[in-house]
């Protein structure tokens, strides 16, 4: 038994050497943090004696962190915000990027279409910090373009960074602005892959453009739409930290509509110092996220075996 293991080890020595650096990385950056989730059940204290010492010697509190987390309003509001924003992103993102892909595929001048696409792709390459500055140039109270425009039309200035009402719209808009150009590429690629003879036949039968879209393009896109959507559903418990932290400029008055699980966890670490409760929130996110990924992968597998993640 041991002998055969060593023989097999020996035969795979070089390959094992090749995965070694990566495996060590995964061990440190993925698997040891899993051990670290024990902190969710502790009253965690940083100790100068290091990782293991802090972990072992922090006081055990059982489920208290979770109990406390779910007894506060925070648990409810961060879960609600994360879910509602993601649902809006998934639905609107899908509608707009599919529409845009169809629209781009219909343009007569392919050079222009390429040019538009290059423009739309740009926001995807910028960091959230930069996008935050962009947003500020529009939304600044005394200098922003939007308030100038409002004044020009005789309306009052708005205190954008102090008004929670408008932020759900702003965040959704910024998200769509940044991501649509990118996601429409996926749909455009599959539209261009559709057999042209289908459209030819439809035109001979006298189908209008709209009928062609409804009866050929959309049905042919259905599998990829379903896959993309289910993959997004699997990640519905995760929020893009940058969008919710940089764009509202970490403004305290807006927390009621901008705080999501990820920003809550971060603030628990850096601002409020509630390590245990914050880890509990992170673990809650991981567990629910894991269940959702498994469920949506199961569904993907049912719909289209080849597109499943695993």
């Amino acid at each position: 038994m041991v002998g055969s293991f060593f023989r097999s080890f020996n035969r795979n020595k070089v390959m094992l050497l090749m995965v070694l650096p990566g495996a060590i990385w995964f061990l440190f950056f993925s698997y040891l943090p899993l051990v670290g989730t024990i902190a969710a059940f502790k009253q965690y204290r940083f100790s100068r004696h290091g990782f293991w010492y802090s972990l072992v010697h922090s006081k055990n509190v059982g489920w208290a962190n979770f109990k406390f987390l779910f007894s506060t309003d925070a648990a409810w509001s961060i879960t609600r915000n994360t879910l509602l924003y993601n649902i809006a992103f998934i639905v609107l993102g899908l509608v707009f990027s599919v529409a845009l892909a169809i629209l781009l595929s219909e343009l007569a001048n392919k050079k222009l279409a390429k040019l538009y696409q290059t423009g739309m792709f740009l926001p995807y390459f910028l960091s959230w910090v930069i996008v935050g500055y962009f947003a500020f140039s529009f939304l600044s109270m005394d200098r922003g373009l939007l308030n100038h425009t409002l004044e020009y039309f005789g309306m009052d200035r708005m205190q954008w960074y102090n008004d929670p009402k408008v932020w759900p719209y702003i965040l959704v808009l910024v998200y769509l602005w940044k991501s649509i150009g990118y996601s429409s590429v996926v749909y455009l690629a599959s539209i261009l892959g559709i057999d042209r003879s289908l459209y030819e036949a439809a035109m001979i039968d006298g189908a209008s453009k709209m009928q062609q879209v409804r009866n050929i393009t959309l049905p042919m896109l259905k599998p990829i739409i379903i896959i993309m959507t289910l993959l997004a559903v699997g990640k519905i418990f995760y929020a893009d930290f940058g969008l919710f932290y940089q764009v509202p400029r970490d403004s305290g008055t807006l927390y009621s509509v901008t705080n999501v699980i990820d920003t809550y966890v971060y603030r628990g670490l850096k601002t409020t110092g509630e390590i245990g409760m914050s880890t509990a929130a992170g673990l809650y996110q991981s567990v629910v996220g894991f269940v959702l990924v498994m469920v949506s992968n199961y569904v993907v597998r049912k719909v289209d075996k080849d597109s499943a993640l695993f």
Binding site: P21, G36, F46, Y116, F125, K209, S307
Partner: protein, 301 residues
């Protein structure tokens, strides 16, 4: 030859409407950047009275002069970002290509185990705080450049993309012929596999270059030393310290000196421009590979 008819084509009327919609959206995507460029070339005094304008009353190069005269912070951050991006991309390509190659080889007995070892990390993670604790307490990387490099070095998704690339792009026969000629695994990898998989490596390399250049999150978590703050994080810091000063300037605890040493509005926008310019120039090139990467990512074993 008869011109092939294009059946993906709207009628002339709709074509105009579609062009308008696509054109306007494309414009809106580019406009904020152009606007920030304009602000950076606006004269500071005009800005104070007029605010940000698309066509300012007075133009000025002051912001850029200011940066190049007093811009140690900016230059240092530029340096940190370039260093982190270069080292990071190299390290991450090395780790990813080795790992992906091994798990792509049918002759590797433990390939299923190591594939799962990677994939599992996509499904379940400890989260931000346990990772923070490991990086700072176990690895002792607080305030180290490596805290900006290592956390982004590897991810399972890139490994899967490259593995698919190796499996579909490099026939077993070539590797076998290398073996017959007496080459070892590492030699085969470096002289046959790597050159053949250049498009795949370029895709992953660009993904990670972009990831490193745009990263601010790891700096937010791990870097307090002002000498090691990368570009994006520096822009973020200037912003929050400005806010801090504005909020606290009423109580007089902030000296006038500090206030004057802060970069002015136009200078900050000029910094944004300088941080973005490399991306703007590189991105048509990026775009091609990203589209390719999206397609490669969609292909399954």
């Amino acid at each position: 030859m008869k011109k092939k008819r294009n059946f993906h084509q709207a009628s002339p009327g709709w074509n105009i409407v579609f062009n308008l919609i696509a054109g306007i959206f494309a414009f809106l995507c580019v406009f904020p950047f152009v606007f920030v460029v304009i602000i950076s070339f606006t004269e500071e005094k005009t800005l104070a009275t007029d605010g940000y304008r698309i066509i300012p009353k007075a133009w000025s190069l002051d912001a850029y002069q200011y940066i190049f005269k007093t811009g140690d912070t900016l230059l240092r951050s530029y340096g940190v970002t370039i260093l982190v991006t270069v080292i990071g991309t190299v390290v991450s390509l090395l780790l990813i290509s080795l790992y992906a190659y091994a798990v792509s080889r049918r002759s590797f007995a433990y390939r299923r185990f190591f594939s799962l070892f990677a994939i599992f990390t996509m499904l379940f993670s400890g989260g931000m705080i346990p990772t923070y604790i490991v990086v700072t307490q176990l690895l002792g990387l607080k305030d180290s450049i490596w805290a900006l490099i290592l956390p982004l070095a590897l991810n399972a998704f890139y490994i899967m993309i490259l593995r698919t690339f190796y499996i579909t792009g490099i026939p077993d026969a070539i590797i076998e012929s290398g073996k017959i000629d007496g080459a070892g695994e590492f030699r085969i990898f470096s002289t046959i596999v790597l050159p053949l998989s250049l498009p795949g490596l370029a895709t992953i390399g660009l993904f990670s270059t972009l990831g490193y250049w745009n990263d601010w999150f790891n700096a937010l978590l791990y870097i307090d030393d002002p000498n090691k703050v990368p570009l994006q994080a520096m822009l973020m810091r200037i912003e929050s310290s400005m806010q801090f000063i504005q909020q606290n300037s009423a109580n007089g605890s902030i000296s006038l000196e500090v206030l004057q040493s802060m970069p002015q509005d136009t200078a900050r926008m000029a910094m944004v421009v300088l941080a973005t310019v490399p991306i703007i120039f590189a991105y048509p090139f990026f775009q091609r590979y990203f589209v390719q990467g999206l397609t490669v990512g969609g292909v399954k074993e």
